[in-house]
C-alpha cells in the first residue's frame, strides 16, 4: 500500500504545472494530422439566399476530403468549420476572430457579398492568417478595405469578377438588342449602388463612352415603397432600357409600378435582384425576359480540379439532392474549397502561415468557375473569373437562365438569343 506523502503531492503538482511547457501542443502523429479551415457564410438573414447551397457543397467536400489531402508525401485531413455571419458585417468579424483565435484555424475562408468577405479578410490581415474569399465584386472588396494597388494585402486573397466586367456585359447585351440607346438607372444608396452609380468609376462614364444616354435621378434608400418619380423621369427621357443593382423587394415594387404607370422598357438588365430562380418565380410571368449577369451556370465548360465533376453535374447533383433549382453561388462555393485543397497540397510547410500564404499567392489552377491565378489580376490579391450575361427565358415549365452574350468570355457558349420585352 502506498502512502501519500508531502513529496508525492508536490511532485505531482509540479508535473501537472510543468506539463503544458514540456508537452508542447504538437500534432498527434499517430493519426493523420488535421488542417483546420474556417468558413464564414451568411446562413441566416437577408443574404441567406447566397448560402443556401453551403451544406450540400460542404457535405460533398467532406466526403471527398475524408480520404485526406497529400502534402509532401503525407496525408492531411481537412476539417472545415462553418460559422454563420447572420448577414451582419459586425457578426462576420466576430466569428472570424473566433475562428482565428479560438479554433486556431490554419486558413480562413468567406463568401457572399462584401458584407461577409471584407470583415473576415480584415480580421485575417490583422491576425496574419491566410484568407481566401469569393463571391463579391473585387472593387468593393479591394478598395472597400482601403487597398492600395501598389502594395496590396499580405495575407488576404480574393477571386471573382469586377464592375468593368458587368459594364462590358451589360452594354454588350444592349448592343445585341438594337433598341434606342437611352438607359434609366436605378442605383440605391448602399455599397453596391454607390459603386455602380459612381460618376467617375461606375456605370455613368462607361455608358457615355459606349454611346448610351443615362438618366440617373439619384440614389434611393433600399426597401423603397415608391418609384413613381423614377418612372416619370424615365418616361420623359424616353428610356427603352432599365438597369441598376437592386434587392428583390425593390425591383418587385419598381416593376409593378412601372406596369401600373405605363412604362414598358424593352430591356431590363438588373444586377443582384435577378440572380436566383426563386426571385424570378416570385415575379410570375413578368419575370420572363429580364436580363442579368451570369457568374456561373451548368453550361459553363469547366470541371472541378478536385473531384473532376462538371459544372452541369454539380448543378444537377444539387437539384436532385435538395429538390431546388441550381443557383450561381454553388459553383463558387465549390471552387473556394478547390483552391483551399490546392493550397494545402502545395504548401511547403503546413504549420507555417507564411508558407501557406505563399502557396495561395502562387495558385494557378482551373476550377469549376474558371482559372484562378493571383499573378494575373487587375490588382494584387485579386484573381478574376469570367463573366457572361443572359436572359430568363420560358422553357415550357418555368423560367430558365439562358446565356445570350459571351463577348467578354468567348470560352463560355451562348445558349440562345436575346428577346425583347413586351
Amino acid at each position: 500500500m502506498t502512502t501519500t506523502t508531502r513529496r508525492h503531492v508536490l511532485a505531482g503538482l509540479a508535473a501537472w504545472v510543468a506539463a503544458p511547457a514540456i508537452l508542447r501542443s504538437t500534432r498527434a502523429y499517430a493519426q493523420n494530422p488535421t488542417i483546420k479551415v474556417g468558413f464564414v457564410t451568411p446562413s441566416t438573414g437577408p443574404l441567406a439566399g447566397f448560402a443556401e447551397a453551403d451544406d450540400h457543397i460542404l457535405e460533398g467536400l467532406r466526403a471527398h476530403f475524408a480520404g485526406g489531402v497529400m502534402n509532401n508525401g503525407k496525408s492531411y485531413n481537412i476539417d472545415i468549420i462553418k460559422k454563420d455571419s447572420q448577414s451582419n458585417p459586425n457578426r462576420a468579424a466576430e466569428v472570424a476572430a473566433d475562428l482565428i483565435l479560438g479554433d486556431e484555424v490554419d486558413i480562413i475562408t468567406a463568401a457572399a457579398t462584401p458584407d461577409t468577405t471584407n470583415p473576415v479578410a480584415d480580421q485575417a490581415e490583422i491576425n496574419e492568417v491566410p484568407c481566401i474569399t469569393t463571391d463579391a465584386p473585387w472593387q468593393p472588396y479591394f478598395f472597400g478595405r482601403g487597398g492600395n494597388p501598389a502594395e496590396g494585402f499580405q495575407y488576404t486573397y480574393h477571386f471573382f469578377w469586377g464592375l468593368e466586367d458587368v459594364i462590358a456585359n451589360f452594354t454588350g447585351l444592349w448592343d445585341d438588342s438594337g433598341v434606342t440607346k437611352k438607359v434609366g438607372g436605378l442605383f440605391p444608396n448602399d455599397a453596391d449602388g454607390n459603386a455602380w452609380g459612381d460618376p467617375n468609376l461606375g456605370l455613368p462614364p462607361a455608358l457615355a463612352a459606349a454611346g448610351y444616354e443615362l438618366t440617373d435621378p439619384g440614389r434611393f434608400q433600399p426597401l423603397n415603397d415608391d418609384f413613381s418619380n423614377f418612372i416619370s423621369a424615365f418616361k420623359d427621357a424616353g428610356c427603352e432600357i432599365v438597369t441598376g443593382v437592386m434587392i428583390p423587394p425593390d425591383f418587385g415594387t419598381f416593376w409593378s409600378q412601372a406596369a401600373q404607370q405605363g412604362f414598358n422598357p424593352k430591356v431590363a438588365t438588373i444586377g443582384k435582384a435577378l440572380l436566383f430562380p426563386s426571385a424570378i418565380e416570385a415575379l410570375g410571368p413578368r419575370g420572363v425576359g429580364l436580363t442579368t449577369e451570369i457568374w456561373w451556370s451548368p453550361n459553363h465548360p469547366f470541371v472541378s480540379s478536385l473531384t473532376g465533376i462538371s459544372a452541369g453535374d454539380l448543378a444537377v447533383g444539387y437539384s436532385s439532392a435538395t429538390g431546388r433549382p441550381w443557383t450561381q453561388p454553388i459553383g463558387f462555393k465549390h471552387a473556394l474549397f478547390e483552391v483551399v485543397a490546392d493550397v494545402v497540397s502545395r504548401s511547403e510547410d503546413l504549420d507555417d502561415y507564411e508558407a501557406n500564404t505563399a502557396a495561395i499567392k502562387s495558385t494557378n489552377i482551373s476550377t469549376i468557375v474558371g482559372d484562378v491565378n493571383w499573378s494575373t489580376g487587375p490588382v494584387p490579391n485579386v484573381s478574376k473569373t469570367p463573366l457572361v450575361s443572359g436572359q430568363w427565358q420560358d422553357n415550357g415549365d418555368g423560367a430558365e437562365l439562358v446565356i445570350t452574350n459571351n463577348k467578354h468570355a468567348p470560352q463560355i457558349p451562348v445558349g440562345g438569343e436575346l428577346q425583347l420585352l413586351g
Binding site: G45, G218, D226, N229, P249, D250, Q260, G262, A282
Partner: protein, 288 residues
Amino acid sequence: MIEWVGVIVQGTLLGGLYALFAAGLSLIFGVMRLVNIAHGDLIVLAAYLGLSTTMMLDVHPFVALIVVMPLMAGIGYALQRGVLNQTLGPDILPPLLVTFGLSVILQNALLEGYTADPQKLNGGAIETASLSAGGLAVGVLPLLTFVVAVAMIACLQWIFYKTSLGRGFRAVSDNQDIAQIMGLNKAHVFGLAMALALAVTAIAGILLGMRTSFDPAIGGGRLIFGFEAVIIGGLGSLWGTLAGGVILGVAQTIGAKIDPGWQLLAGHIAFLVVLAVRPNGLFPRVEH
C-alpha cells in the same frame, strides 16, 4: 402642374399603405400602451400565411384573407394572453424587450420554414392594372390599398365608439384597474385588442405581398414608417394615423421629386417638424 398633381396623388396612395401598416400599432398602443416592435414581422408573417393559403387552396390572395384574418386574430389572442399580458405593467420596458425578442424569433422561424427566397403573392391582372385620366396613371392596386385603409380605419373607429367591445377597449385604456372592478376582464380585453390588431395586420400583409416581393427579413424596415405615421397622427387616434400616413407619403414623394435621395429624408423631416410643433401629434387622444 400635372406632374405635381401626380406626385401628390402617388404620395397619398403611398400614405394609405403606411396607414395600413400603422393601424394595428395605433390600436394596440391606444388600448394598452404597448409598443410592438414585432409589428413589421407580423405583417410579413401574415404575407407568408397568405402565401401558404393561396398555394394550398389555389385561391386568389384576397380569398385567402378569409383564412388568414381569423388565423392571425387567433395568433394575436394567444400571443397576448400567453406572453404579452405577463409583461404589461407600470414599466413599459419589459413588453418592448419581449416584442423585440419576438421579432428576432419570427424572422428566424420564417427563415427556417420558408427559406430566404423572395416570395410574392400572385394577384393576377390587378397587379399591373391602371386607370388613367388626364395624363395621370394610377395603379388599381395602390388605389385599392388606399380605399381599404380608409375603410378599415372607419370600421375600427366604429368598433371603438359604437360597440360594447369598443367600450371595453376604451374603458381599459382609460383606467385598467377601475375597468377591472367594473367587471371587465382586462386580460381578455387586451387579448381581443391584439386579435383585432393582427386581423388588420393580415390585410396589410396580403396587400404588401401583392405589391412587392417579400422575404423573412423585410419586416423591420416597414416598422419605422408605421411608427412615424402613428406619432404624426397622434398616439391612439385612428383617423390621425391615416392623416399621419398620408402626410408621410406625400412628404416622401415630394422629396423624391426634388431628388430621390431626399425621399426618406423629407418624410423624416415632416415627422420632426410635426414633433417640434405639436409634440403630441396632430390629433392626440392620449393626454400626457
